[in-house]
Symmetry: C2
Subunit: 275 residues, 2 copies
């Protein structure tokens, strides 16, 4: 193999590091990949970190010490976060999205790969320091964003089901209360082998009104002796103000509906504008 130039090393490292966010790569990984000295790879990483910072392409962090190395996290800047969520809010506020029963049609956005990725990036940012072992969601609509959040955190996705399924083996099943007036009892189930007691869960879902489904997921995790380190949703409704779960991070807030126009007012949450 010809000697590999800095140009080429930087391009390859950018691809490798950003392809698996939140994974610690040792310096040896790259010294072996390129047949280069540690000092050379360190210099490369420093150029890479500056370039990512300059173009708002995420953050490269160096971890010192024997177990050290380098980690890429797709942390969007405040400007990028605001631009993305204002654009998504505009799309969600367009006439025709409000369905009978005041439901908002959101599936085209939560299932868009670019949109779900940026939402996953922004949600993940809030929970890097909590080190969840997995992301939990409840089928179905929350899965794409939960999947992208899991990818950014480099952890598996775990999906609670409406019912226990033969092809998932023995399961824990709980009842939870859903509906604004708490008048509906529903079921959620999770395969026993899906998680391990003592793990930490980040709960992600697409929509929160009363918070009943999220409450159910919290209760489900207690059955597994799993600690919930955070709860995030794509959209929360402003009303009811009191939710069944506290401390939920919402990307956007739905504040009012206009049945004549068939639209709703959706805006980025206040914290999106914080530094």
């Amino acid at each position: 193999m010809d000697r590999i130039k800095r140009n080429e090393r930087l391009a390859a490292m950018a691809r490798v590091l950003t392809g698996t966010p939140n994974r610690l790569y040792t310096l040896s990984h790259f010294t072996e990949m390129f047949g280069a000295a540690k000092s050379t790879v360190s210099e490369d990483l420093s150029i890479l970190a500056d370039t990512f910072a300059q173009f708002d392409l995420g953050r490269l962090s160096t971890v010192a010490g024997a177990a050290g190395g380098v980690i890429y996290r797709a942390i969007p800047s405040r400007e990028k976060r605001i631009a993305a969520l204002e654009e998504l809010s505009r799309r969600l506020s367009r006439p025709g999205r409000l369905l009978p029963g005041d439901f908002l049609y959101t599936t085209d956005i939560t299932c868009d790969s670019d949109a779900s990725e940026i939402m996953g990036e922004i949600l993940a940012c809030r929970y890097y320091e909590k080190n969840p072992n997995f992301v939990l969601t409840m089928e179905t609509k929350g899965i794409p964003v939960a999947m992208m959040t899991a990818k950014m955190l480099n952890v598996p996705l775990v999906i609670a089901r409406r019912d226990s399924k033969a092809y998932e083996g023995s399961a824990v099943k709980i009842n939870y209360i859903s509906g604004e007036t708490g008048d509906r009892i529903e079921t959620m189930a999770l395969a026993r082998r899906a998680v391990t007691p003592g793990q930490k869960a980040l709960i992600i879902d697409d929509f929160m009104k009363g918070g009943g489904t999220l409450r159910g997921m919290h209760d489900l995790m207690r059955e597994f002796d799993v600690e919930v380190v955070g709860t995030g949703v794509v959209i929360a409704t402003a009303e009811p103000h009191l939710k069944r779960v506290d401390g939920v991070t919402a990307l956007m807030v739905l504040s009012e509906v206009d049945r004549d126009r068939g639209s709703a007012v959706v805006k980025p949450s206040d914290w999106i504008y914080e530094d």
Copy 2:
């Protein structure tokens, strides 16, 4: 802004291009980003293409002409494809995965972000030239891999539901036959606004035994005047040999089960070993 060095341009371009696979970026996108000449950016892209090829990091293709530019596709080499699917097959063949009713527990693998990504990359490779407008899957287990396939193709994911939901608006609902002996009638539904007549669909699911669910998705697309340009699954069973849908691309084949060990024999499909 200081003049941006080739090093830095290559690192930033690697991040941008690989972050949105299968999107055509014009040369102007990068000349504006860096304040660099077209000839300079062309040289950069040529170095980038060679580097990706050398390290098996995907393929960069240049499209000539006025509407031209550059496209990144995460096409894994034959070696990488084989290594990934042999490893996944080994994991799927481990004792204890076979559940009562001869179901195989696969959720931990289809929900793993690295595994679902490489499976999405390999599936997408077969369909770039077919230009699907979206990827269709049926809830729930196929969603992560279908989502990653959609990301690689840079198209949205569309999820058929078991039932029509109030929050997705008016829907088309069909019945389909599932179960090996064709003795179960089930329902799938898709919101009217989810797709547009005349579009092209790629169908992706996690598992195929008789092919009833896939047949249902084909029928559903016919109701929407959508052409199905391909069908891919993670695992197909060797038996029954005759499926309800022809020409399905499977990543792996499940050939036999050992009820005493609670395991199944899973291997990569033959085409994985082709050049």
